[in-house]
Symmetry: C2
Subunit: 265 residues, 2 copies
């Protein structure tokens, strides 16, 4: 099977024009078929504030009401997505921006929760692998914004990590997929204050041990649970690390690589 990279780039990098340009430069040079999934960053919050849309937070989570959905659609699918696409095009990459609605790329349903209405938030049901295959086979590089749709005309705000994971899982039937979560941290660290404590490879047994003895930063656990779910569902490996060292992450010389097969301890 051909190798495919699914790279998620985090919001903190997107907010920094220089870091983003540097990341896109490295991304452009990667000699593989690839898909980029981007998060949101601060721009959406800024625009909501400027236009006087109150941000509802319930139990620490943002509620996506109709006005907020409009703002995130404009910022994610408009400003951020098209800026990234134009930059990648200038670097010779056949970038093509997508939301989940475009070509029915990622279909979702509005989250159902008995205790809390999250508003227009989508949980992914289906990834259109035929669409991604056609684009990749024609040397196009999908750049995916974290907006999905329900197939009934409704756009939905969806977590970018989840979008990347679902695309990676679905395409594992057709490609040897590496899923890269790239952000401002070096990887999974034994000591959150020591960049030298990065765990270079992690399997499920070792992860369980680290969780039990409290060695893993709590904020990392949802990301890692997602990573292990991905490798259990056919993704070849998941790599977590600093977006400023993208090629080293893929070579395995930096960051944390999570795989099903590799043994540790």
């Amino acid at each position: 099977m051909d190798k495919l990279l699914v790279v998620k780039i985090g919001g903190n990098i997107i907010d920094d024009a220089e870091k983003l340009a540097s990341f896109l430069h490295e991304f452009a040079l990667l000699p593989y078929r690839k898909i980029l999934v981007h998060g949101g960053g601060k721009l959406a919050t800024d625009l909501a504030q400027k236009t006087g849309i109150p941000q509802q937070m319930v139990e620490g989570r943002r509620i996506t009401d109709a006005e907020t959905l409009k703002v995130v659609t404009m910022v994610y699918a408009g400003a951020i997505n098209k800026n990234i696409v134009a930059q990648l095009q200038s670097k010779g990459v056949g970038a093509l921006g997508l939301t989940g609605a475009d070509g029915n790329a990622v279909r979702a349903h509005k989250r159902i929760n008995a205790n809390l209405d999250y508003g227009f938030v989508g949980d992914v049901d289906d990834v259109n692998t035929s669409l991604f295959k056609v684009l990749l086979q024609n040397n196009l590089t999908p750049v995916v914004a974290p907006i999905t749709h329900d197939g009934l005309g409704q756009l939905l705000n969806t977590n970018a990590d989840t979008v990347a994971q679902e695309i990676a899982k679905a395409l594992s039937a057709h490609f040897l997929v590496s899923l890269v979560y790239s952000f401002e941290k070096e990887g999974v660290m034994l000591d959150v204050n020591d960049a030298g404590s990065v765990i270079s490879s992690l399997n499920a047994d070792y992860y369980d041990t680290l969780k039990e003895n409290g060695s893993i930063f709590a904020g990392m656990i949802p990301k890692l649970d997602n990573a292990f779910a991905a490798v259990s569902s056919g993704v070849d490996k998941v790599i977590i690390g600093n977006a400023m060292h993208l090629s080293s992450l893929i070579e395995g010389t930096k960051g944390t690589t999570i795989s099903h097969a590799r043994q540790q301890l």
Copy 2:
């Protein structure tokens, strides 16, 4: 050659949710390969006002400074494009949204004018016919926002009528193209106050006569000049008329049809 429709939908329809839904319903039913190009509407002006971006008008034309470009990118490529795509998907159309940057669909250069700096406004250089062919052959329906790029990382604001015309002209080498300018008027009228005075078909000779005797509403002239330029460049016909009667326009029972071949007078 296969028939292809390139349909431009005007801003006044986009501003009216009910009219837009009705238009998209008819568009979805058209049994041809098709491309939709949409304009902007009032949303961009509204967002610029809300966020305190002054709109510079020089000699009656809007100047696209960097902040205004960001606004139109968010509104055209984000809010409007994704709303249309999601609605078409719900009607069974394989809609896929594009700006000119996506897949290098429409490349342009920043307008050069010795007397006036229009800002980030693009004049079209090239349409990527290979991209449109791949999408159309895979039953995808491109939905194009009037934003282009220069291939060097810069997005550019571009007139939607021009984008539609350039796409129609370029694809005439591969398809039998009808270019439809659909908006809130009935077509080219001899008397602007009489909807019954629509000219059903117009050729270059008749157009010259009407211009000479002042029978054509001045605001229509740039659109018609564009239309005749398109039929001179290989477009089979250009149809101008009311977006609420799309199928009748295409059947030729409503609106004005402009063709190279047809004789009149």
